[in-house]
Symmetry: C2
Subunit: 233 residues, 2 copies
């Protein structure tokens, strides 16, 4: 029986959650069959026993697991004969550093520039919730006001990607010769941005695009299974 | 027979090279006995057959190896029965990301603020070489001029350490429950700064200090075997 993944979904079946993306890559890395159930923010409370506050959530033959890290660890434990996401504790520990780096230097930097784009792409039923919760998170700033002059944020965001660009100049994947969870973490962030961006994130000659396009091709084009806007221009 | 490490040395036997520090930690991690030979910049050309341009260089029973990464890989290969620095290729690949991060966000940011301090602490015979080569590297900027207003660079440097601080808020070492090469990479950078800094790098309530002091304690206080100025104030 295949695993069910509850996958955050916007308009036009856009799957935009960076955390759901990494779980899809994690499942594919392990060669596990899965089906996705699209859910809006508003529908998260209807998943399973109603206790989940965020996605991804998976259901595996009666076992329910939420949170992308917990899911990755569950999958390694439940399917020890498939390729490991964390072949040893040191890999997991170092992936946590990659995660905090991408969170502070990529996701958090990109958020103000792209939060209005997410708003434009969430399902109708999520709009009020999304706007109110994110404006509160942003200390009362109106999402519309963040669109103005957001181009000015791009050079900083692009330059923050330097360590990623430099590492990938010397090795095929962040995880080495073959892709691993560290790659999936960051691919998820780019697919999140790509799924909503009305302003391309990268310049079209950015060497990161080689890695990004290879990443989208992985696992029969997993990273192309949802509508995506231009990532580079 | 113990391994010989050629270790960059300034005045008062200060060992300030971040790259030599990581090699000392790598040797200690593997439980290998070693002796250091202090060398000035000017004396690097006298090591071994004279072909080395940088330190660290080790000599292990007739085998000469230079470059901290090459030395780490050599040690894993030559001493497979001691604790691995890179237990699998994914750990090595992820350490390269940690290295590029620390290079671009820590070492490169700190360099202009501390290069004059290095100059003050190099051996007399290295002074002219050091000043001329670094001023050339800096496009002609005089080292003395970088001291003015360097306090203004500290908030940016401290805030660039956020991913490290956040990761170490959730796990004992960067490499997990026990220290590993990723920790040694960054410890080396702090020991480099500490060995010369006339302006403390960190604030004294920085939670990073817990990790840093634990790191200096490792291997019978390896990180306290050379004169060190105040790292925090």
């Amino acid at each position: 029986m295949s695993i069910t993944l509850y996958d955050l979904c916007g308009q036009d079946d856009r799957r935009f959650s960076p955390f759901c993306w990494r779980t899809k890559y994690a499942l594919a890395h392990k060669g596990l069959a899965f089906e996705t159930v699209p859910v809006s923010f508003s529908a998260i409370k209807t998943i399973g026993d109603g206790s989940f506050k965020t996605v991804p959530v998976i259901e595996d033959n009666g076992t329910w697991v939420g949170d992308s890290w917990e899911i990755a660890k569950y999958l390694d434990k439940a399917y020890p004969d498939t390729p490991a996401l964390f072949p040893n504790p040191e890999v997991e520990a170092l992936c946590h550093f990659v995660e905090t780096w991408q969170f502070s230097n990529v996701l958090r930097q990109a958020f103000p520039a792209y939060v209005h784009d997410i708003y434009l792409h969430v399902k109708e039923e999520d709009r009020t919730y999304f706007k109110e919760s994110r404006e509160k998170q942003l200390g009362g700033t109106k999402l519309e006001s963040l669109v103005e002059a957001r181009e000015e944020k791009l050079p900083g965001l692009r330059s923050a990607l330097f360590p990623l660009r430099m590492t990938l100049g010397n090795q095929r994947w962040l995880s080495g010769d073959t892709p691993g969870y560290a790659d999936y973490l960051i691919l998820g962030t780019f697919l999140w941005l790509g799924s909503v961006a009305t302003l391309p994130v990268l310049e079209k000659d950015d060497p990161l695009l080689v890695w990004l396009e290879k990443g989208r091709d992985l696992y029969n084009g997993l990273g192309r299974t949802s509508p995506c806007n231009e990532i580079a221009a």
